[in-house]
Point group: C2
DNA sequence: CAGCGAATCTAGACACTGACAAGATTGCTG
DNA sequence: CAGCAATCTTGTCAGTGTCTAGATTCGCTG
């Protein structure tokens, strides 16, 4: 049993996990394929076989992120049926999986026309706004407003742009903000 | 009169302009200092003297972006005094100066602790939310909600995440969305 | 169970990048 | 007009993404 077998076993998963760690540390633009290969204990060109190129790796991460977000929104919907709580789940996902979230909304970094990403993104959107009838405003606009509100809050929080006090308890702030839309 | 004098004249401005063009094309993470130097017609190391390093160049762009946004918000405020129109101005700036906007909210790419950027950002925030008393909801939350809403809409529009119909007339959509907050 | 094609990984190479050092040129100030 | 500081050039180095050729191993077919 050699200490490092020729075949890794699950290099694809290992590289994806290493990418999440590296992105959380240095940002989505600050990672290098060669560093990920080193973290996974393989040669510098090994990841290419699984993802094609660097953008391919980030495409896989984006698709995985949309799948995870869709699953979280589905769970929230079945458990509470509450539109406001769906927004809170969106924010919780963004803050808890910031590497995935950062890649998902950086279309310059991955193959944005990838069908797996597109379909997963559309499904996520439908889940998020399916309860938007509770939102005031003309139809078609209320859904966009709901998504914009939670997405903007999460983005501003992640970039550190919010004033000090507002960033302390993000879930509480997110819930309070989402309630404004429903008028409750 | 040599065709290319030893001193450029205003290399700093030329590099910043080249950066805006390059970022608009390839995204904030896809630019290279050497390419900007080529576009400006100078040697590959010339920009370093003006900005220190790549992050320094993007820091200058971020600061310039916050100054431009603050100026636009001030103009809107003095002309209309309307809170909703301030939000529309925010969206119009993001869509019309997407290179600046992208850098402003990518703190991983520039020196986020730069004092020039920090002060310009705080001033912009004050301008944007100064009319937020018109927004429903508890104080402190309404301001965050207002900023989150317009910022989220602009970000989603720029990343191409919005469904086809919603992205057609962004200013109209932005105005309709901002009106939801004021309850009008 | 043997063998063989396909999948996986390694090793080497190339052009490109950001950063640094040393020197050339020029504007500016006393 | 002398000299100093700012500006720019040239050369260099390690690191990166991607491509090619070849080595190793898996898994299926007979």
């Amino acid at each position: 049993m050699p200490s490092r077998p020729y075949h890794h076993g699950d290099l694809r998963r290992a590289v994806l996990d290493a990418a999440v760690a590296a992105i959380t540390e240095h940002g989505a633009a600050g990672i290098s394929l060669r560093d990920l290969a080193r973290r996974a204990g393989v040669s510098h060109a090994a990841p290419v076989h699984h993802f094609g190129d660097k953008a391919g790796l980030l495409t896989a991460l984006a698709a995985e992120g949309y799948e995870m977000l869709a699953a979280a929104l589905t769970e929230t919907r079945e458990r509470t049926g509450d539109f406001v709580e769906a927004g809170v789940t969106y924010v919780r996902f963004a803050l808890g999986h910031r590497a995935h979230f950062a890649v998902m909304f950086s279309p310059d970094l991955f193959h944005a026309d990838d069908p797996a990403v597109s379909s997963a993104r559309e499904r996520t959107y439908d889940l998020l706004v399916s309860g938007a009838r509770a939102v005031r405003g003309e139809p078609g606009i209320a859904e966009i407003a709901a998504w914009s509100l939670v997405h903007g809050f999460a983005t501003l929080w992640l970039t550190g742009a919010l004033p000090p006090g507002a960033a302390d308890d993000p879930e509480r702030s997110a819930r309070a903000i989402a309630r404004i839309l429903t008028g409750s």
